[in-house]
């Protein structure tokens, strides 16, 4: 029996009006994503990748179409409902990390835990940081960490909440190759544990390690399926 999709988009369109010009970021996009899938959304800059991610993460709402995530219809969800949804369902990993500079690594993670209303607080934050290899860095502030370390803190913040959907926007964009691979490994592991992991990137090499690659161009899906040549091991990636 096939698992029920955790993300469903039905003819979703998102357009913005900038002055007198209407820009369509996503045009009639329909797709389903299953739990445990490591999905990469691929495409050049401006193709609508981040818009799609923001939509699934309830940071944005569709102009038309229907959007369901983790069983909730977000199509007409109000601001408050979307806040609650994000707390309970989504783990965000941003390209620019978006850590709070005045909080230590552990506290940044603890913030995510507290916001999600998950028990465990500090202990859970520390153990999650240990999982991402930052056991020695729990008391460090973001400016005392390297870019890769900061991204790992951001991942720990997303992981610690136990959210079923992990959304990562160019998570390796600011990182060197080795650190990037480490980060991808962590995300892979989350998919393996049954979470839905969506990674937005323009890096085709990263897509090779995904279970599924959805390619966008000008706001439309131009291809959807496993990577050409099948999913490769992370150790075989080069960029």
């Amino acid at each position: 029996m096939t698992a029920a999709p955790i993300v469903t988009l039905e003819h979703v369109t998102r357009s913005y009006t900038l002055g007198e010009v209407t820009v369509t970021a996503l045009a009639d996009v329909s797709l389903e994503i299953l739990p445990g899938e490591f999905t990469v959304i691929l495409g050049p800059s401006g193709c609508g990748k981040t818009t799609l991610l923001n939509m699934i993460g309830a940071l944005d709402t569709p102009t038309s179409g229907r959007l369901l995530v983790a069983g909730r219809d977000l199509t007409g969800a109000g601001r408050k409902e979307r806040f609650r949804f994000r707390r309970e369902t989504i783990g965000f990993i941003f390209q620019t990390f978006n850590l709070f500079p005045a909080l230590t690594a552990a506290e940044n993670v603890e913030f995510g835990i507290d916001v999600a209303g998950v028990d465990g607080g500090h202990e859970l934050a520390v153990s999650t940081l240990e999982q991402v290899g930052l056991a020695e860095r729990v008391r460090h502030f973001p400016h005392e960490l390297s870019g890769g370390e900061q991204q790992r803190v951001a991942i720990a913040r997303a992981l610690a909440t136990g959210s079923p959907v992990l959304l990562a926007d160019e998570p390796t964009g600011e990182l060197d190759f080795t650190t990037g691979v480490q980060i991808l490994g962590l995300l892979h592991q989350q998919a393996h544990e049954g979470r839905c992991v969506l990674v937005v990137t323009h890096n085709r090499e990263i897509a090779r390690a995904a279970h599924r690659v959805i390619e966008l161009s000008s706001g439309r899906i131009v291809s959807d399926g496993p990577p050409a040549g099948g999913t490769v091991d992370l150790t075989r990636l080069r960029w």
């Binding site: 965000f92 005045a102 506290e107 913030f111 916001v115 999600a116 900061q150 913040r157």
Partner: protein, 803 residues
Amino acid sequence: MRGLWLRWYWRDLRSHWTQVLTTALILAVGIGAFAGLGGMRQWREDSTTASLSALRAHDVRLDLADGSYAPRGALASALGGLPRGTVAAAEERLVVGSQIDASRAGDPVLVPARVIGIPSPAGGRTVDALSIREGGAPRPDRPVVLDWNFARHYGLPVTGTVRLAGVGAVRYSGLGVTPQYVVIVGSGDITGGESALAVVYAPLALAQRAAGRGDEVNELVVRAGPGSDPRTLATEVRRAGRTALPGVATTVTLGADEGATRIQYRDARNDQKTYWAFAFILLAGATLAAFNLVSRVVEAQRREIGIGMALGAEPGLLARRPLVLGLQIGTLGAALGVPVGLALSELIRGLVRDFLPLPVYASSVPVGLYVGAAILGVAIPVLASVWPIHRAVGVDPVEAIRTGHRSAGSAGAVGRLRRLPGRPIAALPLRNLARTPRRTLMTVVGLGATITAVVAVLGMVDAIDDIAARQETDLLRSSPERLEVALSAPVPTTDRRLQALAATPGVAAAEPGLAVEGRVRHAGVSFPVALLSYDADSSIWAPVASDGSRSGTGVLLAEKAARDLGVGVGDTVQLEHPRRDGGRLADGRSTVRVIGLHPNPVRVAVYANGATREGLGLGGVAPRVTLRPGSQAADGALQRALFGRPGIASVAPAVAEVEALRTTIDAFGAAIRIVVFITLGLATLVAFTSTSISLEERRREYATMFAFGLPARYGLRVSMTESLVIGVLGTLVGLALGTAVANWIVTSLLADTFPDLSTRLAFQASSLAITLAVGVLAVTAAPLATLRRMRRMDVPSTLRTME
């Protein structure tokens, strides 16, 4: 969870401590000024009331007409018929006009004196006790006490010897005051009369010797019994006086109507209006500045609020952090504001103590006002943070977390600035300002508010100085060394004594003249004036006409008097004045034409030429003589030569009138000068805090510049250029608003405080220079204080953290 947030609040406080502290200080100045200046009227009124009570001030004073005396005991015994309990205490005294020579080496002090002969100056007095402020109580070898105001004005020692006309040398034991002479009131209800009048407290016998009288008195002061109404008592005292001395003219004055008492309460009330104006200006300036600074600090957290919202945190939860920061600023501001207010209040009270020699000063603190100010202090930054928080949580999280989102929306302005000539790097400061127009506007408005306060306060100081300067220009325009000799009684202009006076060695020119008190009236408005004569062809001094003419029949009114009466040249006014009636002066009333206006800013002087004097029934009589000393005469020599000469009541230099006005103005201006310093301090604090916040806001940009190898001084140059633009714009705003506020203060509040003086806005170049120095130079230089922080900036760390 709570621990995390508490640590976060604490780190926010630590990382922004300079901004928090300086913004709190700015607030503290505002609310401190509000609380410190707000309670001055109550304190002064309480002090006056307590002092009048402590000195057992009289409720009623009966004095006999000039030249009339009563045997000692006659006035007091006349009260015997009053109902029991009406009178608590009564005392007879002799008040004598005289002259005093308190000259010291090279410093002539020769002024009219009023000797107050009292039965027991040393103590045990039941009415109008003598309060010794410095020195000791009188004793047989030092029998007199000098008025503290007079001695302080001329810098006389606490004890010493003076010469009194009709008495000779007399030693004084100290300096003191009585309720009636706590302040010395000059003509036109202007204080500062001590420059031209020395009150001397002496044993009754000594006063009688000075007057050349036997055991006689001419005044009775009475204190009402418990529950006795002073007005009823006044009526009974008047009746008793008439019964005891039939045919002798008497005047009864209520204690509450005594010039010194009336003016103390009036000044407390009027000065408070000015204090309130300054308090509100400082509070408004500090509020706007604090609002701007708090908003900017909170604004800097917008991105973090956006991240929190993206992670699903409730806006209410995220709003706590900036609210707590506002609360921290407010709490610290309130905590500092209370001592600032107390210190400011004490400073102003100290100044009041300097010119108002009361025996008792109230110690009360207006607790309600301070509590209100403290609440205001907390509320201002909290409220200031509400709007930026509202804006921050209202933004879509996806917008808020976008790097550089704050530059959005200003592309137009930046685009226009892109066309500025020169290298892009040179245009950076202007572009920085243009790409954040809201922040730039808030900073300009915040600085403008403070500069408004500076301009308003300086404008008031200048307006006050302008009054004295105009009077000096008018009165000392010619023969500034001239002397005004008041005669004991008016004499015919042909009198031989006048010729003798003119022939006194050292006199280059002498002109008999008129100086009598009167009242001018028109269309329901009236006020007291001094009717003075002039000769348009005078070789000594004559008034000038700023409008109309000096010739013809009629009077020259002060411009201010004409404005207050609503008349102009060619109109007529009613003049109440003495008139010759045989050998004496009787009350008269005339309708006179206004032939011209004179520029003296004091409205009391009404000038009449020879022809007009005749029409007023005052021709051929001279109660005063104006003398011009010869060029060879030493300073004060002529005054000394005329001292004590029979028939001469007083000899005063013309400059004394100018000094009297300056004394009054200086007493008032001292408090304002404190406000000037506070305002300048406030403006400097605003400049520094604004720069400090700018550095925080542009931290990453500076780090990028330094990473490219630009030295810290380049960052400083960018910062200083930005500050210069802000400073110029803020100063322009402040100058425009400040001029409007100053104009309102000068034409409304100051005019209320000094109803006899013509006030106008007259900025001095130095004030403009101070304003520019604070608004432009200090603001431009403020980034220098951040140079160390720029140099010590950890560039890699700053760049590593994504914002």
